[in-house]
Symmetry: C2
Subunit: 120 residues, 2 copies
């Protein structure tokens, strides 16, 4: 996740697409496997690392960390560390993160309809 080769064709393709197509740009930001689900949980309010982990039973701590870091880099999520022991870290959506709400809702809606249609 952190080791992207800026010389690869894949990288330049993604960059070019992101430059020209804001929907592709958005997709690279919210496209991770756990990204939307994390955001979806955070729509309900701030959560600690461990709380998020409980909501996503199968995620590894590493993946959760990576996804949260990426979300933080992309300013979707704000991270607050409390200087306590044991540590307490809270995650919450920023404004632009919260702005994903209608998109997430529509995706849920569309997903449900698609499932019914295809009998999944």
């Amino acid at each position: 996740m952190s080791e992207i080769k800026q010389t690869s064709t894949n990288f330049s393709n993604k960059s070019a697409l992101s430059d020209e197509c804001p929907e592709a740009y958005a997709s690279t930001i919210i496209g991770g496997q756990w990204t939307l689900v994390i955001c979806s949980w955070l729509l309900g309010g701030k959560l600690r690392f461990g709380e998020l982990k409980k909501k996503l039973p199968n995620i590894t701590e590493r993946m959760l960390t990576l996804q949260l870091r990426k979300l933080e880099e992309n300013m979707i999520v704000r991270r607050t560390v409390y200087a306590e022991v044991p540590p307490r870290v809270e995650y919450e959506l920023t404004q632009i993160g919260y702005d994903l709400k209608p998109i997430i809702k529509e995706l849920e809606n569309w997903g449900d309809r698609h499932k019914k249609l295809t009998g999944q």
Copy 2:
């Protein structure tokens, strides 16, 4: 793309997530690198394989084929083959594919705002 290991943790994680979270389900369907851009072009009407290729200058024929096949499998796109030589194949959105329109539009919107905000 075609060789997904149904015994992998990744596969079972994705399945479980898709079962529970329609937004994650939707994301696995429209999450490919070129998927949304292809759909976005098709919103304007049916296009031939070669026409799509021209719209996406950097895509390889292999990737275009794979993405279109996946979209077809997922009933987002309808493929029509004309028995001519040289062959002619047309792609167009299905109803549920066309229903992605508002989502794509909102993603474009959100992407633009996000770009401005982060100075990309």
